[in-house]
Homo-oligomer: 491 residues x 2
Amino acid sequence: MSTDNSVTPVDAGALDGFDHETDVLVVGYGCAGASAALEAAAAGAEVIVLEKFSGGGGSSALSGGEMYLGGGTDIQRACGFEDTAEDMAAFLLAALGPDADRAKVELYSRESTRHYQWLVDHGVPFKPSLWDSPTWVPPTDDGLMWMGENAWPFAELAKPAPRGHRVTSDGFGGKVLMQKLSEAVAATSVTVHTDSNATRLITEAGRVVGVVAKQYGRLHTYRARRGVVLTTGGFADNAEMVAQHAPQLVGLGVNSDGGDDGRGVVMAQAAGAAVRHMSAAQVGISLIPGMMVRGMIVDDKGRRFINEDVYPGLVGQAALFKHGLKVWVILDEQAYEEVPENERWGVQPHFVAETLDDLEQQIGMPPGALQTTITEYNRHAAEGSDPYFHKAPRWLRPLRSPFAAIDVQRGIAPPEYGAAGRGGAEVFTIGGLHTTVDGHVLDLDGAPIPGLFAAGRATSGLHSWGYISGTSLGDGTFFGRRAGATAAAPA
Amino acid sequence: MSTDNSVTPVDAGALDGFDHETDVLVVGYGCAGASAALEAAAAGAEVIVLEKFSGGGGSSALSGGEMYLGGGTDIQRACGFEDTAEDMAAFLLAALGPDADRAKVELYSRESTRHYQWLVDHGVPFKPSLWDSPTWVPPTDDGLMWMGENAWPFAELAKPAPRGHRVTSDGFGGKVLMQKLSEAVAATSVTVHTDSNATRLITEAGRVVGVVAKQYGRLHTYRARRGVVLTTGGFADNAEMVAQHAPQLVGLGVNSDGGDDGRGVVMAQAAGAAVRHMSAAQVGISLIPGMMVRGMIVDDKGRRFINEDVYPGLVGQAALFKHGLKVWVILDEQAYEEVPENERWGVQPHFVAETLDDLEQQIGMPPGALQTTITEYNRHAAEGSDPYFHKAPRWLRPLRSPFAAIDVQRGIAPPEYGAAGRGGAEVFTIGGLHTTVDGHVLDLDGAPIPGLFAAGRATSGLHSWGYISGTSLGDGTFFGRRAGATAAAPA
């Protein structure tokens, strides 16, 4: 081994035996790791899960608990929606693109009702009721939500159906998902080693055969007879990797458990793995979608830039990548009042003004900027149309004095959201290892690296640049299961 | 060796000797390769240059021939401009960021006058006269041009001086640069092997010791006693790599000699090299800057998005990455007439109209879109101000009927530009291998890979996301020289 912190794989021949041995070694105990362990164990493999923190859950446990599922799940039907795998795939290809992973999207959509059933069979609860307004996470325990399927342009590309399946919970649902999956793991023969931070792969004649993990400052070696499954998450917590690959994210808040250090990605790269879309990210911005959709979101010139009824993550990506997060939610008193109390999260606007001239001055926009935008918006809204961005008529109404504004960069801090993101955003990376639908990690020749598998945010998953909530827990559990099953198959 | 097309390094122990042997092997004969070869030879090393095409020049020879140089060159002083390395570095850090390579930018700026002299000493001609209007390449043979240093916000961040040094030429200057560098190479002992396509590195105990190159279907092995310098260019011609790393570029025209296949990047990655900023790109869009600056550029909602007097490459990046290339140049008859004949390149607007209402309809913009923008623009322009984007007063004037528009996606095809880019743009990638200021290629641990060096667009160079013309020929020659000198130093 070279330096202690090196990611270069260790040659098995240089080791004096292994400290631990198993069939399948899963690295990382978030939703992808738990799913991989469950399927590997179900296939009859001996499984060890390594988790660097003191307990499992990972960033999955801190998430909203949305799973993007469809094609006609029980919950969709109970809420009165028909859906098909084809419409689901068409939506995802548009929303996650350009150039999303078609093979993964199509398989994921085709198998979605079966995957839903697997989750239910493992105790994951979903409530058959719809939250019918754009939101990050419903303020209620409603189990179904729109992810912008009914917004322009997506409604024209695929028959809309709500596919956000939110794990039933008091507040965010990720903790319930991980509780249920962890209980399921505990009911198997799977062994979990916590406080075990995998730092390097071990290879033997071109095959990955194990990992080196640090436990309380000591290095332990693990042999995996059949395969290593990396489910280590993204790299949003690794400032150097972010600067190298996604410099627009530098300095922003991170949506994670603090452990998304990208180590799994780099360990695999050091063994020859290819990566994809390393600059892509989910961008959660500090705004209340219910306020935005009834008003508008504008840039620092006072101009709208998107239809406010899309999934708010797409607003966040546009706000960061196209407008440097210099964005404000503009609304009037009526819009504020119309937002249900439980959806306001206690947020008060940063600015209020009787006139747009005053509001422009308070915010520091060019004189006439908001007046120009709102005059034009109101003119069309009075006719129920939005020829600029095609927001649905349901949300269109001329805005009238008094006005208010929320400065996204200044942040909002409702308790449920935790601390507001630094710079007004909380991000996580969605690029990563290039994998097959079966979880094989591919090398730069496009060939599987023997013995190496991955799933979850350590991979580029379904996505190219776009992101819809529910596709991380969704593809993490779905492709985690597949990676675990593939790894467990005797070599 | 595995498959014929594999990029996996070949172990020297598996070879039956080498077909060729030298001290320094330079792969790719564009400006970086020529510069590396010259310095390696000057240091007393035996040098072979491998070029996959039948002659040298590469994409450098097809370029405009701009070199970003400053800090007080003879040409700058002859044109009456003072400049400092500090102002040059401050501009570059802002224009090439966020998070440009500070160490490279500062060294490059500090050494710039010396590098200018080296170019002159090698016969590269520059004419001491200024072209004083935004342009891709001056339509004259003027040797100095602004690269947006005098435009907002850059003029506020660093004392402006024009630093675009354009190689004197009839038309594009890249061919003259490469002719002079090639003549210099021919006057040395350097050997050039054309039609020699390097496909894999050869390694020995963790050190890069040579390459395998294909010549007319046969594989030849080259041993490099001191080092291999990869100057193979970017990957804009490799559709698969573009889709993996920079999906926004998919399907666009490419500014290259057709050989920017990224092979050097991937060969090095397969030997453990790290990469940076793989989704970044220069975006040349099909417009005449002299028309744009006297009018405006707008998105598909008729809104301006940048001050039109910046370097047009920054307009191109904003047009592609922020507006999907759905952008139009809007001008009036007076603006068109004011563009000097030699700067029009024969371009005629795609649309003309007496009223903005008519122009909106012809283009397919929302009704009122252009009227709103131009009313607001004219109101401020009449007072000589542009509070939205801070275009310099020199270019501000209310626009009056009759109006005209150029559809950037439809393209323009002035003879000097060659065929217009597919989709209205010609791009090249600016991300690549992670290197030190001395040309060492770094691995994923941040350690130099013994025997491996790189320069030019195969590396991420000075840049993060931003791009200014002249920084490719500039950093290619500058860091090419350094890589060649480092490689030539006895191991």
